[in-house]
Amino acid sequence: MKTMIVREYNTVMLPDSYLLDLNTHQIKGCCGCWTCWWKTPGRCIHHDLDCFYHHYITAEKVTFYLTVSQGFISANLKTLFDRMIPLFLPYTNYGSGESMHDPRYERYPDIEIYYQDTFFNTAEKQIFEDYLQRTFYQFHSKTIHLTGETPGVRS
């Protein structure tokens, strides 16, 4: 099975798996130009993620190891998500009852997320989990699993 790992913690690595280490890789920010939709369809003006795009879209499963930052995902991971719009079309469909961008590719990977559960309270944890579930649902992944590790002390 072709897999990929995106990590902010842990040193886990699988043979034949592509690794994006967000501790050492600062993602260039999306500049909101929409070039990836209306000038070079499917391609971003930045090329730092070209390898990531290929491995993401051809992987059967992508595993994330995420830290929590200010009660949410880190800025670097958020930047990665912002830069994932070239993987989708600008056209919108409403079949699910909500607006969603059409897929550009035939299939998208299953998603497995482990995160360091350092939340102050359960409400913050819920916001974090809801957001990640929604994001990968919008990214057309069919299976999304989230697991909190090392629960912190919270009210």
Binding site: I27, G29, C30, C31, G32, C33, W37, W38, K39, T40, P41, G42, R43, D50, Y53, H54, Y56, I57, T58, S69, Q70, G71, F72, I73, S74, A75, N76, K78, T79, L80, F81, D82, M84, I85, L87, L89, P90, Y91, T92, N93, Y94, G95, G97, E98, S99, R104, Y105, F120, A123, E124, I127, D130, Y131, R134, T135, Q138
Partner: protein, 213 residues
């Protein structure tokens, strides 16, 4: 009352977010200072924010949340010792229904609480993607509402709940609206704008490209 407006768009003063700020400011007798996250060091900006009573952060919705550069600023913010500082947000989104920003709204409310800011609320406006592309007369009503929001803010130091509700409509799509939007005719009409730009840029035939297979 000393207020700072922040523009959280990666397009700085060239996009829809700036239009939102301009029309909000048109309702004020004294313009508020505006700083652009794109041009600032987040650590320095976080320190500068302490000089103000109120922060109004205006931003686009990116993947159901804030753009990465806004999160960079959030990571630099430290909890206040008291509730004396206030923070409010204005979010402009591309999808029609404002519910797509509910994940962000929940987080912003929690963030204000986490940082000990008094939370003024989040104004969400959907269907705003084309503000800076189409002629402005298409958005006359929106711009009037933003101006009124500015007028009310100057008077009360808060967002007018009625205007927040008006700007937030439509929250969810009704079944009828979904059926209409999914109909072949409306679906094709929705693609007209994108296709026009793709043709103008000479890449219409490549619109379904899959370059990373």
């Amino acid at each position: 009352m000393k207020t700072l407006m922040l523009n959280g768009s990666p397009r700085a003063d060239h996009g829809n977010t700036q239009l939102f700020i301009d029309h909000f400011q048109s309702g004020l007798t004294t313009p508020l200072p505006v700083r652009y996250l794109l041009r600032e060091n987040p650590t320095t900006l976080a320190l500068a924010m302490k000089e103000y009573d109120t922060i109004l952060l205006v931003m686009p919705l990116y993947i159901h949340a804030m753009p990465g550069l806004v999160m960079k600023l959030f990571e630099e913010l430290k909890p206040q010792s008291s509730h004396h500082q206030k923070i409010g947000f204005i979010v402009q989104a591309g999808f029609i229904e404002s519910a797509t920003a509910r994940y962000l709204e929940n987080y912003l409310s929690a963030l204000a609480h986490r940082l000990n800011y008094t939370y003024l609320g989040t104004v969400i406006k959907g269907d705003a993607a084309a503000c800076s592309i189409l002629p402005h007369f298409f958005f006359g009503r929106l711009f009037k509402q933003l101006k009124a929001l500015g007028v009310a803010y100057e008077k009360t130091g808060s967002f007018d709940p009625l205007l927040v509700k008006k700007l937030g409509n439509l929250v969810y799509l009704s079944k009828f609206q979904v059926r209409l939007l999914e109909s072949r005719l409306v679906s094709r009409l929705n693609q007209v704008g994108w296709n026009w730009i793709l043709k103008r840029n000479g890449c219409f035939e490549n619109r379904y490209d899959r370059p990373f297979l």
